[in-house]
Amino acid sequence: MPPKGKGKKGKGKGKGNGDSKKTKSTVPNPTPHLYFPKEIICKILSRLPVKTLLRFSCVCKQWRNLISKPNFIADHFRHSSSLQHSGSSLLIGSRHHKSNNHILSLYKPPEPVVDLENNPYPCFFPNMYIVGPCNGIACLFNPPWGDVITLWNPAMRQSRMVELSEREPIQGVHGWVSVGLAFDSKENEMLILRIFCVGLTSPVPNHVEMFSTKSLKWKELKNDMVFSIVEYTCNVIVKGVPYWLVCMIDKFGARAVCVRFDVGKKVFEKLPWLGRCKQHQHLVDLEDSLCMLDCSHKDNCHIDVWVMNDEDGWSKKCTVGPLLGFDRIEGCLRNGDIVARNENGVIFLCDPITSSVKAKFSLDNSKNDSNVIVDYSESLFLIRGMLPVKKQNAQDNLARKKLTRACLKFIIGQPSTISL
């Protein structure tokens, strides 16, 4: 609340003389002292996009310091990710149709899709998976062993690679690694989970390790729950909590179960599930709740939306459709827009209530089938050790070409000298 005439925290602001800002007469002061309490500055700045904020960080020291405070960053993210915020963005991962390089793109309707020049993921690796984003940070990694972990804030254009722990998956026991991302708002830290997955019939629980962006260390987590994961990533993250669709064997046989990672207690919890695992079911974050889209309707153009409630379990929320003319339903965004794809690879965002098309785009440079689309909101959140992402420069590509040539020569038995 603005106090009476006190120059509150206005260090370099105004003329700093602390007197009431207007004379008591009704004649307007010719050079008014503009007095803006810190709370109002916060309120206004927290609604600006990251790019603008970074530009304004040089307005004065107070603003620059403000932008890096955890409370401000949290407030800013709340605004940026609020469902009323006009138009969410999409982060898209795809592959170039000629070179097979990874392409990361941003789509913010109504502007066209923008391919990001600064790709933090090393181009050497043929596979790249995306998990998240969570709190504005996406985690890129290399399947099947969940390595080459790169934490990336697209809005801030900064990233860092995360060194793995010394523990390695055991041949014959672990088949692959599933990566999950979580955000602990109490501790203001991001958590990366690596689950070394055992086979379906194995009675042994998965080995789980967790990286904290606060301590910058890996820690082995105690896990007694036996379940089998088939994906390289968690299925969805809702409000900083990751969920996996897993298979559990009990006296009834193999059942599909939904499992959640409790960020506070650092353990996995079982959630009630709907029964048999069907194809074309997507776990999604819908309006900050865990929901499931069941696209297995007989007529292929209606979607049943189920919502999960801690007390009552799963209940059917509504049916969306008819959605006509699409080859495949990809999922939905946080605000409910359905993401669908037609046979030509054009991607559509549809209003869930009217089923009308709100926006559409195609990825001109990329292969049709190879893309991942995730709901993305900007944040200022940075992790210690993050550095600006350099442009994927020609040197990187040249080095890769040389290496490939050298390998080929090796394969056909020719001598080669590698100089990168």
């Binding site: 609340m1 602001k13 105004g14 040089c58 004065c60």
Partner: protein, 141 residues
């Protein structure tokens, strides 16, 4: 309408005025204050100056009008904010934050956002009357 409860308010600069309670209760601050306040005829003091309060009341009056369409409201808002000088707008933002009227607060903030989006840092400093205390070497991203 003639039996509307009236409230007497006193601004920071000593001016008193009367307002319909229903309208005044758009401000959560006023609403909460009156619930703790003994009902007599002493005016309720509010930490806003009369010039700013006049603008707030003008906005409240328009937005309380019965049967007004969305379009008319939008046009009113446009004109209303257009006529404000920067200093008047900022006073309004501060006052409305104090009064805790979410609707007007958001609208006023949006106006400030519009004013500052696309401006250079120096233009921002001019608008807010801020001294540049950043050295070139301390500039970030």
């Amino acid at each position: 309408m003639s039996s509307e409860k009236l409230l007497t308010l006193k601004t920071r600069d000593g001016e008193e005025f009367v307002l319909e309670e229903a309208m005044a209760f758009r401000s959560l601050t006023i609403k909460n204050a009156t619930s703790n306040y003994t009902i007599n005829n002493t005016p309720l003091p509010i930490n806003v100056e009369i010039n700013t309060m006049i603008k707030v009341i003008e906005y409240w009056k328009k937005h309380s009008e019965r049967g007004i369409s969305e379009d008319e409201l939008m046009n009113f808002d446009k004109k209303f904010f257009k006529l404000l000088h920067n200093s008047e707008l900022f006073d309004l933002v501060v006052a409305v934050d104090y009064l805790a009227d979410k609707g007007l607060s958001n609208a006023a903030c949006e106006q400030v956002l519009d004013k500052i989006t696309g401006k250079t840092p120096q233009e921002i400093r001019d608008i807010f009357n801020i001294n540049n205390d950043c050295t070139p070497t301390s500039l970030g991203g």
